[in-house]
Amino acid sequence: MIESPEPQKAGRRERYDSVGIVWMLVALVLALMTVFPLFYMLSAAFKTQVEVFQTDLLPAHPTFDNFLYVLTELPFWRYMANTFFVSAMVTVVALFFHTMAGYALARLRFPGREFIFLAMFSTFLVSLPVIIVPLFVLVRWMGLLNNFAGLIVPSIFNAFGIFLLRQFYISLPRELEEAALVDGAGYWRIYWSIILPLSRPIISALAILFFLANWNSFLWPLTVVNEQNLWVVQVAIANFRSQYSGSWNYTMAASTIVALPMIILFVVFQRQIVDSIKTSGLK
């Protein structure tokens, strides 16, 4: 009786391993299928126009001409600079506002706290496309069409960041701020010199997610700006595509330039990104 679980366990383990290998192979095949479109984009970016639709997966004579064309014949650097500026501004301001709100909603007591939190959280259900028409009318009335403020300001406010920060602050131990309160520190001091330094890990994860979302956003920049000087990269390549409809090699080179920084960002910060999304689900 005492001996019997042993061999049974060993048998289970062996079975598990052969199943495990099959699963690994399945995962590997699916992973190859998943990266294929990205590989295809990269490959086409190095092909000549004639080569794009040939059956070879790799370019026979890899060329940088497509990249050179996109970067020299078009004001592509300008579009990249615009996008970088908008994304960075939104990220910094949003993190500043959201940490403040998250801190108060999690750690301070004031009348109407639950109501404000619920009201903020309910905006979670409203996605941009749904309010695009009235938002456009409002922003036009504010005189923010065709300028950076119109690109930046409406993108700052979103409930997702506030929610994640509040959850994070609720989990911090109380003693930290109580000691500071006894020492006579004000709430701003506590926020600035205790809470903010403690939130470094979640702030860096959110910074990546916010920057990414804004770098990749299309609908709002498309709607609010039509002056070419203010274009962001996504609007630029969408327009580029309709202008050079036959030149897939150029389009793919432009797409690679736009997508590559984010893929690199992901490879570097993969762990933080994966963890912050994994914990954002309802539990």
Partner: protein
């Protein structure tokens, strides 16, 4: 002392409260207000009461876009549920191998939907694209993925699956991690196999995660949160309006035909639709609470 805490709190929440109010709350109300007016190309407003809603009711194009939206939603949501959960189960055990696999499955999320749309458009170019070629090699030649009204919506749905599956995989992984190991051990002692423990332990324990995944993916699909960009880049709503989602139609009415009043009425209807779906979800699950009994 207490007074100071209250004042400080309001100052802390003030910027986000005002921002969300102005850029989300006001537009919601504004949509309802504008929907009662007829707005011409020069921005002149004329009150028409419920005229725009009457026009919606009689607009055959509206009904066709609604049908497209529903068809899109009922295909995409189950596909995302199955692929998200499937991938999560596949990479559930943590090892160096699965860490790399997780990263790869999530990678499409890093690429903007504009680029995703362009890349898939290139892959599906009639006859010479890599996918039509692959289909031809298994005997299905002459298939036009984005040109055939019967296939275009499916092509967009599958593209979106490729983009979103990694996100839902991560959400499911978070849920799977929360299931205590003892549950599986107890089931193993009772002689449960893999299939049985998946059916009687994994699935029921994942109820809160499933709820989250279903509600988020359904609302996103109906509102066209990600689909809008893809449709805009890949098909512009064609061929023969077969990929014109409600959200595409709203955008066309507003920014192509300058019918802001009509677009606002359609948008209001969409908000109501999203609200009905959300409330139904919560009612079906008894307020989103889950009992393990």
């Amino acid at each position: 002392m207490r007074q100071r805490e209250i004042v400080a709190s309001y100052l802390f929440v003030l910027p986000d409260t005002i921002g969300l109010l102005v850029f989300v709350g006001v537009p919601m109300m504004l949509a309802v207000a504008i929907s009662l007016f007829d707005v011409n190309g020069f921005g002149r407003y004329k009150f028409v009461g419920l005229g725009n809603y009457q026009r919606i009711w009689l607009d055959p194009l509206f009904w066709s876009t609604l049908q497209v939206t529903v068809r899109f939603c009922v295909t995409l949501v189950p596909i995302l549920y199955v692929t998200g959960l499937g991938l999560a189960l596949l990479v559930q055990r943590s090892s160096r191998f699965t860490t790399v696999m997780r990263a790869i499955f999530f990678m499409p999320q890093m690429v903007s939907l504009v680029v995703v749309g362009l890349v898939w458009q290139l892959m599906t170019v009639d006859k010479v694209g890599v996918l039509p070629r692959a289909l031809a090699s298994i005997g299905l030649s002459g298939v036009s993925l984005l040109g055939d009204p019967n296939l275009a919506l499916l092509a967009i749905t599958l593209t979106l699956m490729w983009f979103l599956m990694g996100f839902y995989m991560l959400i499911f992984l978070g849920g799977l991690e929360d299931i205590p190991n003892e549950f599986y051990e107890a089931a193993a002692i009772d002689g449960a196999g893999r299939v049985q423990s998946f059916w009687y332990i994994t699935l029921p324990s994942l109820r809160p995660t499933s709820f989250f995944v279903l509600i988020v993916s359904t609302v996103a699909a109906v509102a066209g949160a990600q689909a809008f960009d893809l449709v805009f880049v890949m098909t512009k709503g064609g061929p023969a309006n077969s990929t014109t989602l409600l959200i595409t139609y709203i955008y066309q009415q507003a920014f192509l035909y300058s019918s802001f009043g009509y677009a606002a009425a359609l948008a209001t209807l969409l908000v109501v639709l999203v609200m009905i779906i959300t409330v139904t979800f919560f009612m079906l699950t008894r307020g989103g609470r889950f009992h393990y009994d």
